[in-house]
C-alpha cells in the first residue's frame, strides 16, 4: 500500500491498518531482537575486556601509592590528601570484609548443595519435651548467597572505581593539576553528579526489594522446592530443568498432562481477559467523558464526582462486597427471585461463561472512572478551533467525532492503553476478590475458569506450595509480557519523541 492509499483511508481504517501492520511485523521484530543478541554480547565482552586493560594499566603505570590501593582501597587518595574520597573507599572495604567474614561466606559456601542437615529432634528429659535444633535452611542459603553475590559485584565495581580514581589522581598530580577537594566533591553531587544523589536511595530499594527477589525466584525454578521439600524442615536441591519439562507436558506424573492443559487454558483466558478488560474500559470511558463534556450539559462536576467515588473507595471493599452481592444465594439473586424476575438463581460467579462475563462487567464498573478521567483531560486539550472549522464546513457531530476526536484520542493515549493492557494481564485484585478464580473444573489442576496466570500462581504457591513450578510459570509470563511490551513501548510515538517537548 502506498502513502496515497493510506491517506485515503478513514481514521478507523488507518488505525486498523497500523494495528494489523504491527502484528504482521511482530515476527520480524522478534527475529531482529534475537539477532541483535550476539552483537550486544560482543559489545559487552569488549567492555569487559576494557576493564581488565584498565586495571592492567593501573598496575603498570601506578606508583606505590596507587598500587597500595589495590589492596587497601583509597590508600593513594588519602596519601594525596583527598581524605573524604579515600576514607569512604576504606570504610566500604572494611564493611565488605566484615560482611563476608561474619555473614556472606557461610551462605555462599553452601550454595552448591543448598545444605546438608535440616533439623534434629531430641528428647530432653529435664524439660519433659522433645526439642528441635535447626541447621541448614535451603531457602535462606539461596537467598543470602544471591545477596552476597550482589554485594560482591558491587564491591568489585567500587574496587575498580577505586583503582581508576587512584590512577587519575596520580596522573593529575604528575601534570601539576589541582586535585578535587572534599568541597568540590560535595558540590559535584548537586550538579554534574546530581543524578547519583537523586537515584542512590531509589535504586538501592529497587535492587534489594525487587531485583534480588526476582533473581531468587528465577533460581527457584531450577530447584525441587515444593510441598515435600519445605525449609526449614526439609532441604530442597537443584533439579535442573525438570520443572520446565513438566510444564510443557513432558512430565512423568499422571497429572502433568492436566497441568500442561491448565497452563494453555489459563494463558488463553488471561489474554482474552486483558484484551476485553482494556478495550471495554477505554471505549466506554471515552464515551462517558464525551457525554459529560458535551456543551450544554450541566453539573459536569457532579457527574464526574459520582464516578470518582469508585476510585476512592478501596478496591478490596467494593470487590468483596460485590462478590457477596452476586453469589448464588446473595442479595441480588434473592431479590430477583422474590420479585419473580427469575425462577432460578443466575450463576453470576459460578458458571464458567457467565462468570467470565461478570468479571469483565464488574471490571468496567471499577475501571471506567479512571479512563473517563483521563479522557476528560485530553478532550479538553483538543484545540477548539478544530471543531469550529469543522462546524463551518457543515460537519455533523458524529463525523466530527470520527474525524477529529477519535484519531486524536487514539494517537495520544497509546502508551496509556499499553500500560492498561499489561496491568490487566497481571490484574490480581479483580479476579481474586471477586471469583477467586472459580468456578473450577475437573479438567484443570488447581485452577478455575476465571483464573488468570497470576491468580493461578498465587494458588500454586500459597496453598499448594509448588514453588518450583510456579517460578517456571512466572518466568514464562514475565518473558512474554516483557518482550511484547518492550517492543510496543519503544514503537509508541511518545517514547520515540521524548525530546520533543524539551
Amino acid at each position: 500500500m502506498d502513502d496515497l492509499e493510506y491517506l485515503k483511508k478513514s481514521p478507523w481504517g488507518r488505525f486498523w491498518f497500523k494495528f494489523a501492520a504491527f502484528f504482521k511485523s511482530l515476527p520480524g521484530k522478534l527475529k531482529a531482537f534475537f539477532k541483535a543478541i550476539p552483537k550486544q554480547l560482543k559489545k559487552l565482552w569488549l567492555a569487559f575486556a576494557g576493564i581488565f586493560i584498565n586495571i592492567g594499566r593501573a598496575a603498570k603505570y601506578g606508583d606505590w601509592k596507587t598500587r597500595m590501593s589495590f589492596g587497601v582501597m583509597g590508600f593513594g587518595l588519602i596519601a594525596r590528601k583527598q581524605f573524604l574520597r579515600g576514607v569512604i573507599y576504606l570504610l566500604f572495604e572494611l564493611l565488605f570484609i566484615l560482611y563476608m567474614v561474619f555473614f556472606g561466606w557461610k551462605y555462599l559456601a553452601k550454595m552448591g548443595s543448598l545444605g546438608e542437615i535440616a533439623r534434629v529432634e531430641e528428647w530432653d528429659d529435664a524439660l519433659g519435651a522433645f526439642t528441635y535444633k535447626f541447621y541448614d535452611n535451603s531457602l535462606l542459603i539461596l537467598l543470602y548467597s544471591l545477596l552476597t553475590i550482589f554485594i560482591m559485584v558491587a564491591f568489585l565495581y567500587v574496587w575498580y572505581q577505586n583503582v581508576q580514581g587512584n590512577l587519575l589522581s596520580q596522573q593529575l598530580v604528575e601534570v601539576h593539576r589541582k586535585l578535587a577537594t572534599a568541597k568540590d566533591d560535595l558540590h559535584s553531587y548537586a550538579n554534574e553528579n546530581y543524578h547519583k544523589s537523586l537515584l542512590a536511595i531509589p535504586m538501592f530499594g529497587l535492587v534489594v526489594f525487587t531485583i534480588l527477589p526476582i533473581f531468587f525466584m528465577v533460581f527457584i525454578a531450577f530447584t525441587n522446592y515444593d510441598k515435600a521439600h519445605m525449609p526449614p524442615n526439609e532441604l530442597f536441591a537443584w533439579s535442573g530443568v525438570d520443572n520446565f519439562v513438566t510444564l510443557l507436558g513432558g512430565g512423568v506424573s499422571a497429572n502433568s498432562k492436566v497441568f500442561a492443559y491448565t497452563f494453555r487454558e489459563v494463558l488463553l483466558w488471561t489474554i482474552v481477559w486483558a484484551f476485553f478488560a482494556t478495550f471495554t474500559n477505554y471505549v466506554l470511558g471515552m464515551v462517558v467523558a464525551i457525554l459529560i463534556n458535551k456543551k450544554g450539559v450541566k453539573f459536569k462536576k457532579l457527574w464526574r464526582t459520582i464516578l470518582v467515588i469508585t476510585i476512592a473507595v478501596p478496591q478490596f471493599v467494593s470487590l468483596m462486597f460485590m462478590s457477596q452481592l452476586l453469589a448464588d444465594q446473595g442479595l441480588v439473586n434473592n431479590l430477583m427471585l422474590k420479585w419473580g424476575w427469575i425462577n432460578k438463581a443466575i450463576p453470576f460467579l459460578t458458571d464458567g461463561t457467565v462468570a467470565k462475563i461478570t468479571v469483565i462487567i464488574v471490571n468496567m464498573w471499577v475501571g471506567i472512572p479512571y479512563s473517563m478521567l483521563i479522557c476528560t483531560g485530553i478532550l479538553m486539550n483538543i484545540p477548539a478551533d478544530l471543531y469550529e472549522s469543522a462546524r463551518m464546513d457543515g460537519v455533523g457531530p458524529v463525523r466530527a467525532y470520527l474525524k477529529i476526536t477519535l484519531p486524536y484520542m487514539l494517537h495520544v493515549t497509546t502508551p496509556y492503553l499499553i500500560t492498561q493492557f499489561i496491568g490487566n494481564l497481571n490484574n490480581f485484585n479483580v479476579i481474586f476478590l471477586l471469583t477467586g478464580g472459580n468456578p473450577s473444573s475437573l479438567d484443570m489442576q488447581y485452577a478455575g475458569k476465571t483464573d488468570l496466570l497470576i491468580t493461578w500462581l498465587y494458588k500454586l504457591t500459597v496453598s499448594e506450595s509448588q514453588y518450583g513450578i510456579a517460578s517456571v510459570i512466572g518466568i514464562f509470563t514475565f518473558v512474554i509480557v516483557a518482550v511484547l511490551s518492550l517492543i510496543l513501548y519503544n514503537r509508541s510515538k511518545s517514547v520515540q519523541n521524548e525530546e520533543e517537548f524539551m
Binding site: M217, L291, K294, L335, V481
Partner: protein, 289 residues
C-alpha cells in the same frame, strides 16, 4: 431568511433532544455506579443480624449498633491507626522517591538513563507476589517482620518504578526554564527545587493521592508480613479476617459494611477535594502527543 430561522430552530430542538438523551444516560450511569454504595450504607445500619443472603435490602430496624460494635468490640480502631500510619509514611517517602527518580530521568542526562528506564519498565511486569517469600525473608533478617516499618519499607522500596507518569509530566515543562536558570548560575539541585517543583503541583498531588490509597486496599503483602498478629493488621487484612471465618461472617457482615463506610468516607472526601489536580496530573503525565 425565514428558512434559515426554521433550520436554526429545528437544530435547536434536535440539540435539546440529544441533551435529554444524554441526561437520561448520565442518570442511569450514576444510578448503576452508586447502587453498590447505597446498599453498603443501608446494610451498615441494619440492626438485625442478617447477612448477605437475605432477600430484602432496607433494614427491618435501623440502628447504629454496627458502628458501636465496630469501635468498642473489635480491633478496628487499632487497624485504622495502623493503616493511617503506614499510609502517611508511605505517602511521604514514596512521593519523594518518585519525584527524585522522575526528575533525574526527565532532566538529567547520564549514561545509564535509557537502560535504567527500560529495566524499570520490565521489572514492573514481574508478578509481584512471586517475590513475596524472598522479600519476607529479607525483612526477617533485619527484624522487620510483624512490624509496621517493614510494611512501609515494602510499599516504598520499589516506588522508583512508578516514575512513568511523573516523568511524563516533567517532560512537558519547557526546558528553556532550566537553561535560563543555569545562565543565572543555579545548580541542578536548585533548579529542581526552585523551578521544577513549584510547577509540579498537580503531579505531586497525584502522586500523593495514589500513594495514600495503596495501603488501604493492599491485602497480599500486608497479611503475609503481619502473619497472624491482629494488633498489626491493616484494615484490609483485618476486615477480610471477619469474612474468612464463615461462622463469624454471619455475625460480622453488617459490621464489615459499617467498617467499609468508615474507611471510605475520608478517602472519598480527599479525592473529591483534590479531584482537579488528580485529573491534571494524570493527563499531563500519562499521555503526551
Amino acid at each position: 431568511m425565514i428558512e434559515v430561522k426554521k433550520k436554526y430552530r429545528s437544530k435547536k430542538a434536535a440539540e435539546r433532544i440529544s441533551l435529554v438523551v444524554i441526561y437520561a444516560i448520565l442518570i442511569a450511569i450514576s444510578v448503576v455506579w452508586l447502587i453498590p454504595f447505597f446498599m453498603l450504607i443501608v446494610l451498615s445500619f441494619r440492626g438485625e443480624q442478617v447477612g448477605m443472603s437475605s432477600d430484602y435490602l432496607l433494614p427491618k430496624q435501623w440502628s447504629f449498633n454496627n458502628y458501636i460494635k465496630l469501635f468498642t468490640q473489635t480491633k478496628f480502631l487499632r487497624w485504622y491507626a495502623n493503616t493511617m500510619i503506614v499510609s502517611v509514611a508511605v505517602t511521604i517517602v514514596q512521593t519523594i522517591i518518585v519525584l527524585m527518580t522522575s526528575y533525574a530521568l526527565s532532566r538529567l542526562r547520564f549514561k545509564m538513563r535509557k537502560p535504567l528506564m527500560n529495566i524499570m519498565l520490565i521489572l514492573g511486569m514481574f508478578p509481584g507476589f512471586l517475590s513475596m517469600t524472598a522479600v519476607y525473608f529479607v525483612l526477617k533478617e533485619i527484624n522487620l517482620t510483624q512490624n509496621l516499618l517493614g510494611l512501609i519499607l515494602v510499599f516504598t522500596a520499589s516506588s522508583a518504578m512508578q516514575y512513568y507518569i511523573c516523568k511524563g509530566f516533567f517532560d512537558t515543562i519547557p526546558k528553556s526554564l532550566d537553561e535560563a536558570a543555569r545562565i543565572d548560575g543555579a545548580n541542578r539541585h536548585q533548579i529542581f527545587v526552585k523551578i521544577i517543583l513549584p510547577l509540579a503541583k498537580p503531579i505531586i498531588i497525584y502522586t500523593i493521592l495514589t500513594a495514600f490509597i495503596a495501603p488501604w486496599g493492599e491485602f497480599m503483602f500486608s497479611s503475609f508480613i503481619m502473619l497472624g498478629d491482629p494488633d498489626k493488621f491493616t484494615v484490609a487484612v483485618g476486615m477480610k479476617s471477619w469474612l474468612d471465618n464463615s461462622t463469624l461472617a454471619s455475625e460480622y457482615f453488617t459490621v464489615f459494611c459499617a467498617a467499609a463506610v468508615v474507611v471510605s468516607i475520608p478517602i472519598t472526601a480527599l479525592f473529591i477535594w483534590l479531584q482537579k489536580y488528580y485529573v491534571e496530573g494524570v493527563t499531563g503525565g500519562s499521555v503526551k502527543g
